[in-house]
């Protein structure tokens, strides 16, 4: 596994290619352009195909708009400030729900990993709630907490809590017994044991859980926004655009949703990993 990973990184065509080429300076600029072109090629081909189909007129342009319409809708809505506001509200909701999930999930997970009693009590309850897909809870939450932001935030928090609990629990249990013992033998008290051994030891798992939780929250937030009838939000934007057959607006919204998803994954978590577990040598980059 490790061998395979190492091999890919050194290949010029892989995603690490452009960065490596840039690091190498002017002599590598040729490789960089080739890598860039190779990444762009599939998008150009698919885009050209889309354009041809859109302009052939087989489908009504309202339903299958050419890419320039989508791009202009994207620019128009961004300049008017509508798209940024939708995106900001969605992100705020995601963040609020996710914070709740992190606090509850990491807390419960650590309790379950450290205390046998907590594990015995909580594990059956968590295991019953986990296999039910998050969207299925949506109507129940709406009934209990009404339409609007409260339901949306609580639901997002509830759904993203499960992977966080499971991973934190596994991570705390996976901390090597010998690390705990040697820390204790060197005279660490409970608090220092927790802060300096257990928490860093479980961190790769916890981070993986946070990543999973956030991805899950992001996947259902779009629908939750529609069902909860919130006044602003990307989910509301695309579902609202359907009523008026504004396919270009819908596709523009989807582009933004994808871009945010990609950004959360690459910018936030990869950074976080690099600063902690990779720097400590607990995980290969």
């Amino acid at each position: 596994m490790r061998h395979a990973m190492h091999k890919t990184v050194s290949e010029p065509g892989s995603s690490a290619g452009p960065l490596r080429a840039r690091l190498r300076g002017p002599s590598g600029s040729h490789t960089r352009w080739r890598a860039l072109a190779r990444t762009a090629l599939p998008f150009l081909l698919v885009g050209a195909l889309w354009e041809i189909i859109a302009h052939l007129g087989t489908f009504p342009p309202r339903l299958f708009p050419p890419l320039e319409d989508v791009a202009s809708a994207l620019v128009r809505l961004t300049v008017a400030g509508i798209l940024p506001r939708h995106a900001a509200e969605t992100l705020l909701r995601l963040l609020a729900g996710f914070c709740l999930a992190v606090i509850a999930g990491v807390g419960l997970g650590i309790a379950m990993g450290r205390s046998r009693l907590a594990e015995d009590i909580l594990l059956p309850l968590v295991s019953i709630g986990a296999p039910i897909p998050g969207v299925a809870y949506a109507p129940l939450f709406l009934l209990w907490f009404g339409l609007g932001n409260v339901s949306a935030v609580l639901l997002v928090g509830f759904v993203s809590m499960f992977p966080i609990v499971f991973n934190t629990w596994t991570g705390v249990k996976a901390v090597k017994e010998i690390w705990v013992r040697s820390a204790q033998a060197m005279g660490a008290d409970q608090e220092r044991l927790f802060r300096h051994v257990i928490l860093p030891g479980a961190l790769p798992y916890i981070l993986a859980g946070l990543r999973l939780g956030l991805a899950q929250a992001w996947r259902i937030l779009v629908v939750v926004e529609l069902l909860a009838a919130v006044p602003w939000g990307l989910g509301w934007l695309i579902f609202g655009a359907r009523e008026f057959l504004n396919t270009d607006v819908m596709l523009a919204g989807i582009v933004v949703i994808g871009a945010i998803g990609l950004g959360l994954e690459n910018l936030v978590f990869r950074r976080l990993e690099q600063f902690t577990v990779i720097r400590w040598g607990m995980m290969a980059a």
Binding site: R38, P42, P131, I220
Partner: protein, 261 residues
């Protein structure tokens, strides 16, 4: 059974009973309206009635059919694509950027677009499931094939295995742990997608539709009963179907260790 394990089971059962009793007390206490927080016997009664008159079975059958068709499509397209991407450099270079760009878009975001293109109904649900399941299958098959130990391939080649034998006897079993993990993840995602899609495309049958429709009439008992069925089906697939698939293949071959607990 060890005394420790017995103690765990007793404590777990106790915890569940206490949780149920607390819920029951809250429901019977009358602080919240009964329509919103139905007592457990009422939920159980509703579940039994819906099972007895067959309506729950029909809903579950519709949901499962939509999910399985979409899932099968995703596997039929995604598995060969992922394996080819792992083997052929040109295909990897072409499809990997596309897959990476499309993957972060939640499948349910496509629902309104698909509704416009294909109309309300089964097609939308099937396509959304297919979209949701496709990415884990492709990516895991791809990384599985690439992570097959080079030594095994060379050894098989040296022992005179031809391309076909190499593929079926070495490559596919070698990639199996990844592929099965991908199928598992794909199932979880498609289960979410099918329930969500049914809520929005409202097509008269299906577990997602039942839950959403029950909200209109404040039938919290129907909602909770359907939630139980959805959870039970998800659990059965996760544990029995994928669990036994794993036991029959990669666990038996000794490629991964069984998770304890």
């Amino acid at each position: 059974m060890s005394p420790e394990r017995t103690r765990s089971i007793v404590r777990g059962t106790l915890a569940l009973l206490v949780a149920a009793a607390a819920y029951e007390a809250l429901a019977q206490g009358g602080i919240f309206p009964k329509a919103l927080l139905p007592p457990l016997p009422k939920v159980a009664g509703t579940l039994f009635d819906m099972l007895a008159d067959g309506s729950m079975l029909w809903h579950a059958a519709y949901t499962l059919t939509r999910m399985l068709i979409g899932f099968a499509l995703a596997v039929l397209i995604g598995l060969p694509l992922g394996i080819l991407m792992g083997r052929v450099r040109a295909l990897e270079g072409f499809f990997l950027p596309l897959v990476s760009a499309l993957m972060p878009i939640p499948s349910l975001a496509w629902v309104p677009v698909f509704i416009l293109w294909f109309g309300l109904g089964n097609t939308v649900a099937v396509l959304v499931v297919c979209y949701a399941a496709m990415f884990p299958v492709v990516l895991n098959a791809w990384s599985g094939v690439r992570s097959v130990n080079q030594l095994w391939l060379r050894a098989a080649g040296a022992m005179g295995a031809d391309e076909t034998a190499l593929f079926w006897k070495v490559m596919l079993p070698g990639a199996a742990p990844f592929i099965i993990a991908g199928l598992r993840q794909a199932f979880q995602r498609s289960w979410i997608a099918v329930v969500g899609a049914e809520m929005i495309t409202s097509s008269d049958w299906g577990l997602g539709w039942v839950i959403y429709d029950a909200k209109e009439f404040l039938n919290a008992d129907v909602m909770l009963a359907s939630l139980a069925v959805i959870g039970a089906i998800g659990f059965v697939f996760e544990r029995l179907v994928f669990g036994s698939l794993e036991r029959a293949t990669v666990l038996r071959w000794g490629m991964v260790c069984a998770v304890k607990g």
